[in-house]
């Protein structure tokens, strides 16, 4: 899918202040503290959820956009951990911004929901339906105590303000490509608190197959090769998967450097690839081309090719950067973690 005249005019991220070390989780469950998937992961505070994190990321994005919220025509929120089963987060965010005459809706596709929101806003802006829209990926991921996922299921949000291309753009969309199949690698049934997953099955037929297919599909369609990109961002459930994916597709470690954050904050699900992109934008040079490929279980990937524009230079410092959030942290132990995650039955 080629994209014409649609750009990012604002972006913002958010990561909660609390961290738990994987070695602390390993201590509780008797695992080797050295054989853990990430160093530490972010944990939402007792008064945070996917909605509150989306608000802070969006307020950061608005600071960088230099626009009035009045021109926003859509707010699409991608998450698999909405605070309500029935009642949208998007309307609360609209109320915070003070806008009502807009399209506001929540979207769900596991960890891919944020990029799907982005793709939809691109379509609405590109078709002329709206002047500008907001796409959000946000999650407070759930991991069953003692399960593999508990070592990585983290929290974070990223928000993008997407508009018709102008003079003050941060980055311009060049193209997008999606790839889906019916693959049951990870799921959560209605009414269940924690998800289940297919262990090793989540690798080859799910994560690797879909990201590879979407990345290849986009590069073929645009006539681009890995060396045409300065940066690459993949969905990051751990550090191992995106590192292996990069190698398999022909990208080097330098290209992956800014986009891979799971070692610092864990897997932020629907926010993961979009926080990675935010950190790339925090560090990229004008003219850099970025490949972003999400992955959501169930399963599918969205790939985007994005070129950094000179608006980044004046806008980058207008809001906190990703590493401002990553660097401010408070460690908690497993007891406080259990309290924050409501795993203590009162």
């Amino acid at each position: 899918m080629k994209i014409k005249d649609v750009s990012i005019i604002g972006y913002g991220a958010y990561v909660p202040i609390f961290r738990i070390k994987d070695s602390e989780i390993a201590r509780v469950w008797g695992r080797d503290p050295k054989r853990v998937p990430v160093n530490e992961k972010s944990v939402p505070g007792y008064d945070e959820d996917s909605l509150t994190m989306a608000v802070e990321a969006t307020l950061n994005a608005l600071k960088r956009s230099n626009i009035s919220p009045d021109i926003i025509g859509a707010i699409l929120v991608g998450s698999e951990s909405p605070p309500y089963a029935v009642k949208p987060s998007a309307t609360v965010i609209a109320e915070v911004l003070g806008v009502s005459r807009i399209v506001a809706v929540d979207m769900e596709f596991a960890c891919r929901a944020g990029t799907t929101a982005m793709q939809n806003v691109i379509g609405m802006v590109g078709s002329g339906m709206i002047e500008a829209g907001i796409a959000i990926g946000t999650d407070t991921a759930q991991g069953r105590p003692g399960d593999e996922l508990e070592y990585t299921a983290a929290a974070g949000a990223a928000s993008y303000i997407i508009s018709k291309s102008g003079n003050d753009d941060i980055a311009r969309f060049e193209g997008s490509f999606s790839y889906v199949t019916d693959t049951p690698d990870f799921w959560r049934r209605e009414g269940e608190r924690f998800p289940r997953h297919g262990y090793r099955f989540t690798g080859e037929p799910a994560y690797f197959h879909h990201i590879y297919s979407a990345a290849k599909g986009l590069m073929d369609e645009l006539g681009l090769k890995p060396q045409d990109f300065a940066h690459v961002v993949f969905h990051q459930p751990n550090v191992k998967f995106p590192t292996r994916m990069a190698k398999q597709l022909g990208f080097n470690k330098e290209q992956l450097k800014y986009g891979l954050l799971s070692g610092y904050i864990g897997n932020t699900y629907a926010a993961a690839s979009l926080i990675g992109l935010a950190n790339v934008l925090d560090n990229a040079k004008v003219g850099d081309r970025i490949l972003v490929v999400s992955f959501g279980s169930g399963a599918g990937s969205d790939a985007f090719s994005i070129i950094v524009e000179d608006g980044i230079l004046s806008k980058r410092d207008l809001a906190p950067k990703v590493f401002d959030y990553i660097s401010r942290k408070k460690y908690i132990d497993y007891s406080i973690y259990s309290k924050f995650r409501r795993n203590i039955v009162m």
């Binding site: 202040i17 505070g45 007792y46 008064d47 945070e48 959820d49 909605l51 509150t52 608000v55 802070e56 307020l59 605070p83 309500y84 009642k87 609360v92 109320e95 915070v96 003070g98 401002d324 401010r328 408070k330 309290k339 409501r342 203590i344 009162m346």
Partner: protein, 136 residues
């Protein structure tokens, strides 16, 4: 036993003020206050306009709640502070993202959007502004 104050209309009425930190300014005595209300708490005038209050301020004083109402039980201990905003408006709000052993009078704080409370497990979730210390 858990008891919850259930008022959906109240939280709906207050949403704008609590989500966006909108207070009142008295056109007669020029006082600002939070949350917005129809008459001035200082002079009693009904000539009040809405005002967007500054999002930063200073913690003047605080108290720590160790024995909370039902809907805050999982949050104990938590901090309720008196904050002086940059324009001098004084407001009462929860202080978040800081340990009860670390909070101090005089720290700089900024507004953040957080969960206030839930009206029971199947009730609505109330959101609004709290304050957190500004990190260096």
């Amino acid at each position: 036993m858990n008891t919850f104050i259930n008022s959906v209309p109240r939280s709906w009425r207050e949403r704008k003020y609590k989500y966006r930190l909108i207070g009142g300014i008295c056109k007669k005595c020029n006082a600002t206050f939070y949350p917005y209300r129809g008459s001035c708490p200082y002079c009693g005038s009904d000539d009040i306009e809405e005002v967007n209050l500054p999002k930063k301020g200073r913690l003047i004083s605080y108290t720590i709640i160790y024995s909370p109402p039902s809907e805050f039980r999982l949050k104990q201990p938590y901090i309720v502070g008196l904050i002086e905003l940059e324009d001098g408006t004084r407001i009462i709000a929860q202080i978040t993202d800081v340990d009860v052993n670390e909070v101090k009078d005089g720290i700089e704080v900024e507004a953040v959007f957080r969960r206030y409370r839930e009206q029971g497990a199947d009730g609505i979730i109330e959101y609004g502004i709290k304050f957190r210390p500004i990190s260096d």
